[in-house]
Every structure is written in C-alpha cells, then in structure tokens.
Amino acid sequence: MPAPPPDARSLTAEVVSVEPCGEDGVVLTVRPEVELPTVRASRFFMLRRTDRLSPLIPRPFSLYRQRGAELEFLLKVMGRGTRALAESRPGDELRLIGPLGNGWPALEGGGAPWVMLGGGVGSAPFYLGIQQALAGMDGKRPARREELAYLYGAARRGLLYDLERFRALGVPVHTATDDGSEGFKGNVLGLLETLWSANKLPREVRLLACGPHPMLVAVERLARAKKLECWLSLETLMGCGVGICNGCPVATRPEGPMGAWPNAKCCVEGPVFAVGAVTLEQPGEQHGSPRHAPAACVPEAPHEPERGRAGN
C-alpha cells in the first residue's frame, strides 16, 4: 500500500509571522522544531492549530517558500480551517505534518519548455518549482530561464498573489484575469492559446498545472487533445494527508499506469499526477473516456464508485 514519504514527521512549529497577501490571502511563516532539508516543490504539509480542538482536521498546504529554518505558506482564506490559521499570531504553536506527497517531476532543461499554469492560490507550488528548475533537480540539467514560462491567472488583479515576487524570479511571467484588471482578459488557457498564436511559445511544451478544479479539468482536456506531457498538482479534500483515511480519492484512468485500482490516494500517490494516470472529468462531462456514470455498488467492478450509501 502506498505509504507516506519516509521523511514525513509530525512536528510542532512556531508561527513567525502572518502577512496579508492579495485580497483574501496571507503568507504564514513558521519555524518547525527541527530545520528541514530542502523540500521538493509541490510537496505539502498538513497544518493545524494546537490551542483548540476545532478545527480538528489539519488542512493541506503546498510549501510556498523555504528560507533557512523557516517555511512559508501562501493561504487563501476559504473557511474555518484557513481562517484559524490566518488568525494565528507570532509565537503560537502549530502542528505541522510533512513534508508529504511527491512533488513536481524533475524539471530538467534541454527539452520542450516547461509551461507552468497557476490559477489563484494554485500558484503556491510554482515559486519553489521555478527556483528548483533553475537550480537543477535530481542532478539533472538545470532549466534556462527561457525554458520556463509562468502563466498566472485569477479572477482579478487582487487575487494574483505575490505577483511581483514571481516576476523577480526572472522567468517570463504572463498574467490573465477574468475581468482584464491585469494582463490578458480571460483565463490561463486562453492566454496559452494567444501565446501560441503569437509564436511566443513553441507548440511542443510540457505543462504543469495547479489551480481550481474547472481549470485543471480544462488543462487535462487540452493536454490530452494535443498529446502534451502534463502534470497536475491536485487539491482534493484531505482527512489525514498520510494515507490512512481514504478521504482523498482521485479517479484513475483504467488504461493508465495506476488503472489497477479505481482510485489513487491524492495524499500519498500525489498530489502531482501525470495526465495519463488520472482523470478529473466527472462522469457526464466526459470526452472519449470509457468511464460511465457512477452506479450503485458493484463490488466485482471496482471502477464504478458507489453512491447513496453511508458508511466508513
């Protein structure tokens, strides 16, 4: 059974600072009880406050930046869990479980450019991604700046978190907003099309994407249609982050490398998946996928998720 990574630990961490970021976000900086070696981009940690019982379940966050002994997380305030974390103060103690998950593949240079598609707070795992690609990952050839492009989209300017910091990394950064308040008016996929049409990007690219579900569904569809290498960093609900609750299923593609079982566990088998291995498309909105609408429980056919029953 897939297990959490061997370097993952349950640690306490002290809040160093909580700085507002964008319209509804914060950058939470913490210092874990032990200094961690360099964490691969798009790995994540489970975080919760320890001074209260509720929220009970820690929440997953990608590591945004790592500076010496300090870890930074970019949080968009959504509900109870993120609000509690955003309201913590310097000196507060947090529970920190990680580093968890697999992270981006080695973003080596010399091949097709890596085009990174970030949507809203889905931009968090790209800061380290760009840094680590430029530095070289797993002993592979470092990527040159022009071999990377960051396409950053959000509903409006105020939701493009820490844009200047991304620009300061020195790789091409292109922005898109739904309302046109910053950069291209439209979404990151529209932006990608215009960059292709203007010959600012070669047709053959390798895609990395992290963002809201509808965006990732569209990225998956595009990658499949154009047969592009594509990796998605998924944000499912998570009950534990360490593979013990079965609360984070991602539908596998029956014909793909993980197809022996209908679900992958996002926490221990992801959060980064190759498009050939999983699918985000819901039954009913499928395009050429052999999967059918969920039906009642058919234990002999484990590729059919069950509906309408309670149970552990």
């Binding site: 630990r9 509720s54 009950g239 013990i244 079965n246 679900n263 509906r307 029953r309 149970g311």
Partner: protein, 316 residues
Amino acid sequence: MASCDLSLRIGPLELRNPLLSASGTYGHGLEMEFFTAPTELGGWVSKTVTLRPRGGNASPRICETEAGLLNSIGLENRGLEHYLAHTLPVMARADTVVVTNIGGESVEDFVEMARRLDGESATDAFEVNLSCPNVQGGKLPFATSPALAAEVIRAVRAVTHKPLFAKLSPNTAQLGEIARAVEGAGADAITAVNTLLGLALDWRTRRPGLATVQGGYSGPGIKPVALRCAWECARSVAIPVIGCGGIQSASDALEYLVAGCAAVQIGTASFSDPAVPGRIAREMGALLSAAGIARVGDIVGTLHDGRETLQGARSR
C-alpha cells in the same frame, strides 16, 4: 514513583497496553510507522476487509463538522485476496497484536472470510464489523437486531478458534441486548462503538457535505454518546469491552477504562495528528503512575455508578 504496568489480557491475547488503533483510521499496513509505530500500541486493527474488492463511495467522502468528522468512505478496500497477499505479511513482521476487521453483506460473507483467514498465523484475532452503515442499504441489520448479530457471531465462531471481537453500533436502542446476544454466541470481546449516523449540509448551496448525504460521525463530539454505549455494554456482559469513540487524550482513554472498558481504540484523533496514539500511550502511563496505580486493570470498571456493590461485577 513506580511506573504503572499497562499490560493486559483480552482472552488469550496479551497486549502491551490498552490502546489499539480503530479500524479504518490507521492505514492498511505500515503507513503510521514514522508517526505511531505499531509497537507503541497494544494492537493494530485493520481497515475492514471484505471478500471482494470495493471501490468505495463517490467524493466528497469526508466532511468536518463543529466537533467531529462525518465520513462515507464506503469500505474502500482491495478485498481479501489482496489483504492476504500484501497486508498481512507486512503486519506479521510488526511486533504487535494483529486484529483483522472483517465485513460482509451476509452471514455467508463473514463465514467465508473467517474460514479463509483462520489458518493465517499473522492474524491474532478478528473484529467482526457488525456495524458498518454501508451494508444492506444502510439499515444496519446486524447492528440493530440481537438475533442477527448473534447469528453472525455464532456462524463465525463455528469456523475459527481465534478470538472474536464484535464491533457494535451506537445506532440502536437495544445495545445491552445485542451485547448479551453476541456474548452468548461466543464473542470474546466487544468493541463499542462504530460511528453514529449523521448528516451535514450547506443551506445556501443546498448541498450535503457528503456525496452519500448521510454518513458516519466520529471524533470528540461523539465521546459522551460512545462512552455511554461502552458503559452499557460493560455492565451487560462479562467479556471485555473495548471502548471507542472520540478519544483525543490519555484522560479520555482513562474515562473509558473507569466506565468498564478493558482497552480502547483511537480513531479520528489520528487524523488530527498521526503521532497522537503513541503520545496517548505514553501519557496514560505517566498519568496512572502519578496517580499511584500499579496495574492498569486496577482502574477498570471503578465508576461509582451503583454497580460496585454488585457481586462479581468486576470479576474480569
């Protein structure tokens, strides 16, 4: 200060301490090794294994509420063959008591599972999941009928000599009767309890928190309910009761022992922090030692509930 002896026996099983993992909350093997190693606990209880693989329910499968967690995992598991080939061999190497939790849709399923597992030396005991809200249309037939619960246990008893824990549901008004029925049918212990049926929804979007709408409620919010259930079982039977529900701390666990449980299981608390079960084990030892208690069994069933005057009530 002498340190308290935490070891105990449940039937023929020797446990190093009274803390077990709760089924479905501690993984399918050694996921927890670096957080709470199986050797820190008295026993490891597997996620429910079913005869055939089950893909589980649609998402969302979990939904946190104010004081607990709703789940509708749907007993996702790769089935008995996979368990025999991949999970048991791994757990056999872990130095702890291995309890295989078995689930089924019919008496025959349970019997077939127990028959197949009986020869496996790696399994020290069975926990018979009579209480999954996920079989037979969510009606919990085995968990709400003393006769059906007894029928399952009797049938399983007939095919194995291994110790049997009957895992009961809080979703019944007949818990005492059911506890007595499974004891009469040959159970060696009772696990009390599984999740409560529950529901969460968002009135603005009109959407339920779980894809299955209703699910199983666990965590701190259920502790008073589960503790009462465990107490009712303990006062109804002479076999050991293993308490389960909402335990977050060593003092929570000790409350269950005082209520009459020989041991406890820790579930949802492991999701808050997978190192919690090990920490509770250490803290329990420290608390009991500080209270001058020599053996953990000395506090079992010591609640002043009027029952302490009954002859033999604490004979186990």
